[in-house]
């Protein structure tokens, strides 16, 4: 019985956090989000050398061959840093699709490039979660047409996984008939795009892979929850630090009951959430029967906890927390996007009920 991070995982966490502290401090994040690509390419390649970009790429393809729990540890650290890096889309969703769905040739072509940080693949899978107006793909005579919204990490991506029903198509960025347009959200640290297709021909198509798609969705939800968790950690740490620094009436506001209790409430919500994220990630790795429910509830729960934590942290910061100058807003907004990606809390809870035959 050992429910917790291993020494290696603790080290991985520390390594990524230290890297981000040094190479991607918030001053740098602010620069990156103003850039066109919105990604710190140099930082991404450096992190790739630490095994982050290829965390889920098998060792045979030059990756680190890590577990989803490892990926969740990384995601928590990246969330903690509000890192403008294409981890969830390219390193988790796209990589797992390559691993679980693609054939050897395609794997050989893309996985090493992903692991090296030189290539990025975006994923359009939103329609599988909930069909929304103005989106949807159709396939006719080998060509894909339509619109895919909220394609994760799509800015400057080299290729796109596009999901259509139970089928997954890999389309190159340069394919004829494909256009990718920025889709500005409140979160500037991760870029979504809208992919338009007019009879675009995929590089590869895999049909009837619904079960794999669902499993990939589960992984994505867990990793997004882990990212929110990291943001919550940071928001709480910023709040405690601000309360310690900020003086009113000649005393740090951290000595006042109302402030302390708000911080305590954040901690009380965050800690069991961390346990839940670990549990869900471990289940994805080792307890496949439990994984779908845990992934679903985990993402729903972290979305609600994240919302509360971000609001409370903003209140602890007072007026300063409402300014652009205050870094807190980056996590506030990152959580705002994560909450909606791959299913908002209500949709996920309905899904969880169906999974258990309760609905």
């Amino acid at each position: 019985m050992d429910f917790g991070l291993s020494e290696e995982q603790a080290l991985l966490d520390e390594t990524v956090r230290r890297f981000l502290d040094e190479r991607l401090p918030m001053s740098r994040v602010r620069e990156v989000v103003e850039s066109e690509s919105g990604v710190d390419d140099e930082g991404w390649r450096a992190l790739a050398e630490l095994g982050v970009a290829g965390a889920l790429v098998p060792e045979a393809f030059g990756g680190a061959g890590l577990s989803l729990l490892d990926a969740a540890v990384i995601a928590t650290a990246l969330g903690h840093g509000a890192a403008p890096l294409p981890f969830v889309g390219s390193s988790v969703l796209a990589t797992l699709l390559l691993r679980d769905v693609a054939d050897g040739d395609v794997q050989a072509q893309w996985l090493p490039a992903l692991a090296g940080g030189g290539a990025r693949i975006a994923v359009g899978i939103a329609e599988r979660v909930e069909a929304r107006q103005g989106a949807g793909l159709t396939e006719a005579e080998g060509g894909l047409s339509g619109t895919a919204l909220f394609v994760l990490d799509g800015q400057d991506a080299d290729a796109f996984w596009l999901v259509c029903g139970d089928d997954a198509h890999l389309v190159r960025a340069g394919a004829a008939g494909l256009t990718a347009k920025p889709l500005p959200t409140i979160d500037r640290t991760r870029r979504c795009v809208e992919v338009g297709l007019e009879d675009a021909v995929p590089e590869a198509s895999y049909r009837g892979v619904g079960a794999s798609l669902d499993r990939v969705l589960d992984a994505g939800r867990i990793v997004l929850a882990a990212d929110i968790l990291g943001g919550c950690d940071r928001a709480l740490a910023l709040s405690v630090a601000y309360a310690t620094d900020r003086k009113q009436f000649g005393r740090p506001i951290s000595t006042f009951q109302a402030v302390k209790h708000m911080c305590a409430e954040m901690a009380a919500a965050i800690e069991p959430s961390r346990s839940l994220v670990w549990y869900a990630a471990h289940a994805w790795d080792a307890l496949p029967d439990e994984a779908p429910l845990l992934a679903t509830l985990c993402k729903a729960h972290l979305s609600d906890v994240g919302h509360d934590v971000m609001r409370t942290a903003t209140q602890v910061h007072g007026g300063i927390g409402f300014t652009d100058e205050c870094d807190l807003q980056f996590w506030f907004k990152r959580e705002g996007l994560s909450r909606q990606l791959l299913g908002g809390p209500e949709a996920l809870r309905a899904h969880a009920a169906r999974l258990q035959g309760i609905a």
Partner: protein
Amino acid sequence: MDLAYGPEYETFRAELRAFLETHGSEAPGRRGEIASVGSAEVTAWQAKLIDRGYAARTIPKEYGGAGHEADPLIATILSEEFGRTHVSKGVGGQGIDMLVPTLLEHGTEAQKKRYVPATVRGEMVWCQGYSEPGAGSDLAALQTSGRVEGDHLFINGQKIWTSTAQFSQMMFALIRTEPDAPKHEGISYVLVPMDTPGIDVRPLKTMTGHAEFNEVFFDEVKVPLANIVGRRGEGWKIANTTLRHERNMLGSSATSESLYEGALQVLREERIDGGRAVDSPVLRDRLMKLQAETIANKAHAMRLLTSRLRGENAGVAGLVSKLNGCQLNHDLAGLAIDAMGEGGALYRGSERARDGGRWQFQYMFQLGLIIGGGTAQIQKNIISERGLGMPREPKAVKAAAEATPGSDT
């Protein structure tokens, strides 16, 4: 109980409606829009409104107003009809809403003559200089200083959350002029021309991505002593008059009603898996919960209006509107966002963002209001002390209560 306004008022309303129908199209952009402030278009519209008693209604004629008695029902009708038709109510903002009433009560005749008519006409725009980075709701802790030399003050320091500083001609500010007096007694209420050398206005961008506010820096800004309203050191009392006006301004349920209607529309229009969002029983349950609160706040506003009409003190009922309103507005925005799913995360800059990103903006901005303008914590102190008669905290502890988060704004 009688919700009818009575024939006299309905006549007024009918005339107003007819006016708005005929002349509404002549109105400049909506009240508060920055581009139009001080323009000829604005002053012409304002003149027309004053002429009919639709603006500056209770300001005496000699100072450029319409010279009517205060009448809360007329004020409500004006607010309802201009709001319903989305026509500009004319010149608003802190000049006419806060400075003018203060000057009329505390100013010298010279000050009134000089500032009120121009402000009422819309030619002179004001900003408020109260908050400082180190002193939020606790105005007694203000540090911006006015050194007296001869007939002048020399002002040094910094103000923050100054919403219209960039296009104002004047600021009404709280300045510490008597450094040796007890905290509340050392402050003066000063009128500062914004073109005085030494003033530096810097936009203050908020988390919404826009600069709704400014910071204003003062470096040896020289202002005549004649620009002090009331006596030197009396500024604290005078500011409290004005703050009461602000608190009243924040108590309406109109924003909630409009956000509720908007959220309902979002839920009706947004489609999930081919069905409407409003067909989701869970989202609908949240909507109905917030509708009940919206209606409760609307009924509550009618009750408070009645208290004013009757000349009664509304007691604790009069102190709770702001605390409830901002939270409700924030929750309504949160519901609309959730109903849109991923689309709810879209923001300004995206063509696909519904209502131009309104909902994320409101989600953040209403949170800012919960924090600002008298924080939730301060509101709760006021409710428990003034409303419920609970004791003020002993001195050491009181400090704690007032220094809670949000007191920064």
